[in-house]
């Protein structure tokens, strides 16, 4: 990190030119916007009538308004299913793909496809698949003699939409884990094989501890994604009047700001989201120092 070319004379100007856009983005786009959101969160404003100070009322509403509370609980519930789901499934897939068998590249392509395509387009087909009376999923369930399920009804929508979100995230997770698995020195496996260890002993004794950096990274990424999940929820759980059966915080922010013109309340929710993510990241980095094994 200490290495570096020293800019000479007029090159300092070049340095300014090259860093300029990023500096502007950082100061105004990121830090300035965060500050502005913070200020807005202490106001009432619909962008039409004059802005009025609101004190802490928007923050009080976060914990007293049933709609805000429901959004917060939904976000936690969503994340609690989504994050472990993505981490475990993509690790499992990566371990399968790491075995030295032929045709892996075809499987890799197929598993990655949902991560490439837009959630909007694939949500449309998932809506068909999940259809109550016409969907292919219920058709197979009933032809196998099971009860059909109303997948996108309010009581099941959360689980159904989490499944689709996991489906869409396996591709990227799998690549992160494959990179981690390839980095494990083969001597460990050879030694285990000589000692006659079975598949499970190898996985829990060697693979799992040595892949903890990937688990850490993927958990981090998945958590950030979980707190911002929007596309599938918007596409699959909207009901009449533009509400959702699984309104998470991001959905609620959009609705508050752009349907109800409550920019102050939406700003407070955005701050709430950021604080939660930062706290969770801090917790993860604390866990990392205790449990993650770097070679």
């Amino acid at each position: 990190m200490d290495y570096g070319l020293k800019p000479l004379g007029r090159e300092k100007l070049w340095l300014g030119v090259m860093l300029g856009p990023t500096l502007i983005g950082l100061v105004f786009g990121a830090l300035g916007s965060i500050l502005a959101t913070l200020v807005l969160s202490f106001t009432h404003w619909d962008l039409l009538t004059p802005i009025t100070p609101a004190g802490f009322s928007n923050y009080v509403a976060l914990f007293t308004n049933p709609a805000y509370l429901k959004a917060l609980i939904n976000t936690f519930e969503f994340s609690a299913m989504y994050v472990p789901g993505v981490v475990i499934v993509s690790m499992f897939v990566a371990v399968l793909m790491d075995s030295k068998i032929r045709g892996i590249s075809i499987f890799r392509t197929i598993y990655f496809l949902p991560a490439v395509t837009s959630a909007v387009a694939t949500a449309l087909v998932w809506n068909m698949i999940y259809g109550k009376d016409t969907g292919i999923l219920n058709y197979y369930l009933s032809s196998l003699g099971f009860q059909t399920v109303c997948w996108l009804c309010t009581k099941n929508a959360m689980v159904s939409v989490v499944i689709v979100n996991i489906w869409g995230a396996i591709g990227e997770g799998m690549i992160i884990f494959l990179a981690g698995l390839t980095a494990i020195p083969s001597e460990y496996y050879e030694a285990a094989s000589i000692d006659g260890a079975n598949v499970f002993q190898v996985f829990f004794g060697i693979t799992l501890p040595l892949v903890t950096p990937s688990i850490f990274f993927q958990t981090l990424i998945s958590t950030i994604n979980a707190f911002q999940a929007y596309d599938y929820i918007y596409m699959m759980t909207r009901q009449g009047q533009g509400d959702s059966s699984v309104p998470v915080v991001v959905f609620s922010i959009y609705r508050n700001a752009w349907n109800f013109f409550n920019y102050g309340g939406a700003s407070a929710q955005a701050i709430e989201l950021a604080v939660l993510v930062i706290l969770l990241m801090g917790f993860y980095f604390w866990l990392e120092r205790r449990y993650v094994v770097y070679e």
């Binding site: 290495y3 090159e11 916007s33 490439v116 387009a121 694939t122 489906w167 690549i175 950030i224």
Partner: protein
């Protein structure tokens, strides 16, 4: 002998699991393709092979007055401008962070990484207010202009790659009297091609698939992107019960990225692995 037998059995189980998973991963796409070639009357049939197969849905997509070509064009322009903005500004910043020594480099880079973790929704509301003041809401400007302010993810990705380029090259060029800009333009850009390609693909994908920002800035059809258009068609076409047309639209909307993915799979996958590298 026993060991090879065990290995074969293990391989068989691996294949079976991968195939079962593959059906789940690919299934929805097969269903999308199948439905898009079915007659509207057959939209809820349970067969994967359309019988009879028809191109009617694709014809209807363009004749139903859905403005599909306009949406496609909007998405293309916005995505390409976003790619240009990000490539330019992220590459320049990444070069500075990776190669040039200047005061506050460490602090600036850390700040940039911190913004990676801040949910975008936090910046959305003030940005919207500013673009509204500028009377740019309803145009595509708010969707691509911010790409020209740099980006934390792209800068990080490119810097990681730039750090792997041997420093001897820079020192040799410096001895020959090359300027900073020449070192950037003649050494780092050409050698950084794999990472630049990965960033271009990710950026294009992000812009093409984005739903939230177009919903905020260009919420009404036809002056919007494919994603908002498809979301709108869903409510419109489903009312008319035309899933076949909807699937044709969904299929065409994912086609560009699927094609790019098949040709540039390596960049996709290496780019993701690169972003996961430890510091």
């Amino acid at each position: 002998m026993n060991r090879t037998k065990q290995k074969n059995l293990l391989d068989l189980v691996t294949y079976l699991l991968l195939i079962a998973g593959g059906v789940l991963m690919l299934g929805p796409f097969l269903w999308m393709v199948a439905t898009s070639f079915k007659l509207p009357a057959d939209q809820f049939t349970h067969t994967l092979i359309p019988n009879p197969a028809t191109l009617e849905n694709f014809r209807n997509l363009f004749s139903f007055d859905l403005n599909f070509p306009k949406l496609f064009l909007n998405s293309t322009i916005i995505s390409l401008l976003t790619v240009i903005g990000q490539m330019l500004t992220c590459a320049m910043a990444a070069f500075c962070f990776a190669v040039v020594k200047f005061r506050g480099r460490g602090l600036l880079f850390t700040l940039l990484l911190v913004t990676l973790m801040i949910p975008e929704q936090v910046t959305l509301i003030p940005n919207f207010i500013i673009f509204k003041w500028l009377h740019l809401v309803g145009t595509s400007v708010p969707l691509w202009l911010p790409a020209f302010w740099g980006g934390a993810f792209g800068t990080f990705l490119l810097r990681q790659y730039f750090l792997t380029i041997p420093r001897e090259l820079v020192d040799a060029a410096r001895v020959d009297g090359a300027s900073l800009w020449q070192i950037f333009w003649r050494i780092y850009l050409p050698l950084g091609k794999p990472a630049l390609a990965a960033l271009a693909i990710f950026t294009f994908q992000g812009a093409w698939n984005d739903l939230l920002h177009p919903l905020v800035y260009m919420p009404t059809v036809p002056n919007t992107t494919l994603t908002v258009g498809l979301a709108f068609f869903q409510t419109q076409l489903t009312l008319g019960g035309r899933f076949t047309v909807l699937m044709a639209g969904a299929l065409l909307s994912i086609l560009p990225l699927v094609v790019v993915f098949f040709f540039a799979q390596k960049q996709f996958i290496e780019g993701i692995a690169l972003s996961g590298l430890k510091r």
